[in-house]
Structure formats: C-alpha cells, structure tokens
C-alpha cells in the first residue's frame, strides 16, 4: 500500500459526522414561537460549511450522502435532493482544501454563500422533482432563519474547540 506524508485525518471526520447527525435531527424539529413557525431545514448546511479541514475526503463524502438521504427520508422531500445539495456545496467550498482555520467574518461569508447556493439548488431541484414551483417565500424564510442561527452554531463550535486540546493538530 503506497503511503504519502500528510497531516493526520484520524479523529476529525467523526466530528463532522456527529455535527451533521445532530443538525439533521434538529432540522426535522418544528418549533412554534408566538404564533410563528420556526423550521430549521437548512441547518445541516452549516455542518457542510464547517466540515473539519483535515478530514478524510472519501469518508466525508459518504457521510454527507448518508445524512442528506436521511433528511430526505425524515422530511418526505424528494429523495436525493439534500444529498445532491450537500455534495455540490462540499465540491464548491471544499473544506478539505481550506488553508486556515475559520475566523468569524470568513466563516460568515462562507455560510451566506453556501445558503444562497443551497436556496437556488433547492428551488430548481424541487421544481424538477415535484413538477411544481416550490414556495419561494418559505425557502427564503428558512434560509434567513439559518443565517440568523449561524452565530449561535459558530459560538457552540468555538466553545467545543476551546474545550478540546491540540486543536491545531486535529484540524477542527
């Protein structure tokens, strides 16, 4: 088996998987506050955006495919639509090629870009899948909600990073 030197990917892919698992479960929940419904369907896109830099790319792709499919199963949306969206975002943003660890401004810019891309993809793939134009106001509302939640998720990630030792080596 040929070996090549690289920074260890061991122990970082599971973190991305765990984050995606939690975000997928939260994405299926529905909250109603003061008469306003709060749907978090776009929340897992944060997981794709903040995917660990030094993760194993093939394993990451498989995990993204599985979690995308799981969300489709749970939300009864066209099968494969989330997997396609996650894979396209992963291909465009390539977290494994990121040189530096995220700072807040950079992460926010990434996040807004990813949300806009996933909104466009959701609209057109949903249209193709259901042969009916999706309700764009619902899409936009969910996208804005996901953007508003970003600082919270980033904060939780930051706390998690601080709690973990040797973050530089682990590449999170």
């Amino acid at each position: 088996m040929a070996l090549s030197p690289i920074v260890s990917s061991k122990g970082t892919t599971w973190r991305g998987g765990l984050t995606m698992c939690l975000l997928t479960l939260f994405a299926t929940l529905h909250i109603n506050l003061f008469g306003q419904s709060v749907a978090l369907t776009f929340l897992p896109v944060i997981g794709v955006c903040l995917w660990p830099r030094f993760s194993n790319p093939p394993a990451s792709i498989v995990l993204l495919f599985i979690f995308g499919l799981l969300l489709d199963f749970l939300t009864f949306e066209p099968l494969g639509i989330r997997s396609l969206i996650y894979l396209i975002i992963f291909t465009v943003f390539r977290p494994d090629l990121r040189l530096k660890s995220f700072r807040f401004n950079m992460a926010l810019a990434y996040w807004i870009g990813a949300i806009l891309l996933s909104l466009i993809l959701s609209y057109f793939l949903g249209w193709l899948g259901r042969s009916v134009k999706p309700e764009w106001t619902a899409l936009l509302y969910q996208g804005l909600l996901a953007m508003a939640l970003f600082p919270l998720i980033y904060g939780i990630r930051h706390i998690f990073k601080t709690l973990m030792k040797d973050v530089g080596l682990r590449g999170f």
Partner: protein, 299 residues
C-alpha cells in the same frame, strides 16, 4: 504521519462521482415512481421518532412557555368573554339535552339509530416532527400500527382537524397536513350546509374548490368535514371561511398559529364499497325472501 491510497485525490474523485450518480438515480427514481422506497421511509421514521420525541421535549417546553406568556397577556379579556360564553352555553346545553332526548325517543319509535359519525375512541400521540417546507407540509407522530393507527385516519388537535394519516409504520405515522399541496378534504359549511373540496396549496390558507354554490359560503362561516366519500367522519371542525381574493374563498385553519404537541387520531372505519363488502349467502336468501314477499303482497 501518513495516509493510504483510500485517502488519495483519485479515491476522493471516484467517491464523489459515485455519490453524485447515486443521488441523481434516487432523485430520478423518486420523481417517476410515487411509492419509491416507501417501506424504507416509514421504517426510518419509526426508528427515529423515539429519538425525536426526546429531543423535542425542551422545544415543547419553550413553546409552552411562550404560549403561557402570550396567554397571560390576553387572560383578562378572555376571562370576561369566556364568562359570557359560559352563560350562553349553559342555556344552549339545556336545550341541546332536551333535543337529544327527543331525538333518542324518535329513533326508538322508528327503530333506527344513526349514532354519531365522530368516533368516541381516540388515540393520543405526540407530533414529534413537523415539516413546514417549500415542498411538503407533513408531520411525524409517535403512534403507529401497534396502537391501531391506519392509513386515512383523521388527526385532530384540540383546535380542530390537523390532517390525515398518509403512511403508517409500527411505531410512527406520517400525517399529511391540510395545507399540503396533495391534501383534498370534502367539507361543508355548518351554517348553510353547502359543500366543497378543501384543497391545500402549501400556504397557511387552503382554498375552497368545487363549491356547490359560492353564494352560500359567507365570510366567517364555520367549515367542518362533510363526510362525503366516507373517508373522514362528518362534523370535524376545520376553520372559518376568509376572503382569498376575487371569487376565491380560503379557509383560516383552526390549527394555524398554535404549537402542535399532542394530537388525537380518530380510528374511523370508512364505508366499504359493495365489492369489498359482499353480502353473505344467508343475506342473499333473506333479500330474495323479502323481494318475494313484497311481490306477493303487491296486486
């Protein structure tokens, strides 16, 4: 530190291509086949619903807290209105009891018993996941076949009809909400008795279509299930009629705006068509006898 060939760019590209191809195949298959991987979808829902029940607990707490806060603000005004309503209802209940007594007496005299359409037995369940997405308006509840839930059963909240059961797993069921694009419910106006079809359009206000007579639908009149088609029981409250634009009537659903936590599944048995409910040979002979008897009696 090292990585193996499994971690190489080539392996990444192959995995990515395979994942894309598989996703596209699933997407195309789901588009062309309505019941594609239906059993698996129900199975995944059954497995995940207990986890979602646990995770949703804190959120239900937040919802209830927000609801209480809102309720307290309007408690005084509501209290006054409720007292007035209570006085009116007491009188109405007395009259209703007398009418029910008369009806029971008439039924006894005529030897008939129409009974009530709405079943007495209810199956309580929790809505663990509600999808308010751009494509689907559905919910996952944590009661399934093991508790007697079947496809087509009506699902209610304390406010009114929420939807009907679309798919059933062993421990969970998928509910198609009234707002969903595919939802079609036979309804009637409780005031005029006019009938229509309530069609969901993925908005919060489903549309009244195929109205028997549009003039008989007044803004603000109460919409209930008509029981036509024998799929849902008659008389389940749905909402009130609202103006949805020129010659377009929509319905303000009773369930809109309130947090959905507990729901009730009504195990209503739909009317079977004669083909599925054949008369036994004894029944045939009885009918033949009855026809013969009536034939002999006639001049």
């Amino acid at each position: 530190m090292y990585r193996s060939e499994l971690n190489s760019p080539r392996a990444t590209h192959i995995t990515l291509l395979l994942a894309f191809a598989l996703s596209a195949i699933l997407f195309a298959a789901d588009r062309n086949s309505e019941g594609f991987l239906e059993r698996e979808k129900v199975g995944v829902g059954s497995v995940i619903s207990p986890i979602l029940t646990v995770i949703s607990h804190p959120f239900r707490g937040i919802e209830n807290f927000a609801g209480q806060f809102k309720d307290r603000n309007r408690a005084l005004a509501e209290n006054k209105a409720l007292k007035e309503e209570l006085y009116r209802l007491r009188e109405a209940k007395e009259r209703s009891d007398i009418v029910a007594m008369k009806l029971a007496r008439f039924e006894q005299i005529l030897g008939t018993d129409f009974g009530g359409d709405v079943p007495q037995q209810k199956i309580a369940a929790r809505a663990v996941s509600e999808i308010d997405g751009p494509f689907v308006r559905s919910a996952l509840i944590n009661a399934g076949r093991k508790r007697g839930v079947k496809v087509g059963h009506a699902v209610m909240t304390v406010d009114g009809l929420y939807g009907h059961v679309l798919r059933v797993g062993s421990n969970s069921s998928r509910v198609l909400r009234l707002e969903d694009l595919n939802s079609r419910i036979a309804v009637m106006s409780s005031e005029s008795g006019a009938t229509a079809i309530l069609a969901g359009d993925n908005s919060h206000q489903p549309v009244l279509t195929f109205a028997s007579d549009i003039a008989e639908w007044d803004i603000g009149s109460t919409v209930i299930t008509s029981g036509d088609g024998g799929v849902l029981p008659r008389g389940l409250p749905i909402g009130t009629v609202a103006n949805g634009g020129p010659s377009r009537l929509v319905v303000d659903l009773n369930v809109t705006g309130s947090p959905i936590d507990w729901v009730w599944v009504l195990p209503f048995t739909p009317i079977s068509p004669p083909e599925a409910d054949p008369v036994s040979s004894d029944g045939d002979s009885q009918i033949a006898e009855a026809i013969g008897a009536s034939g002999q009696e006639s001049p």
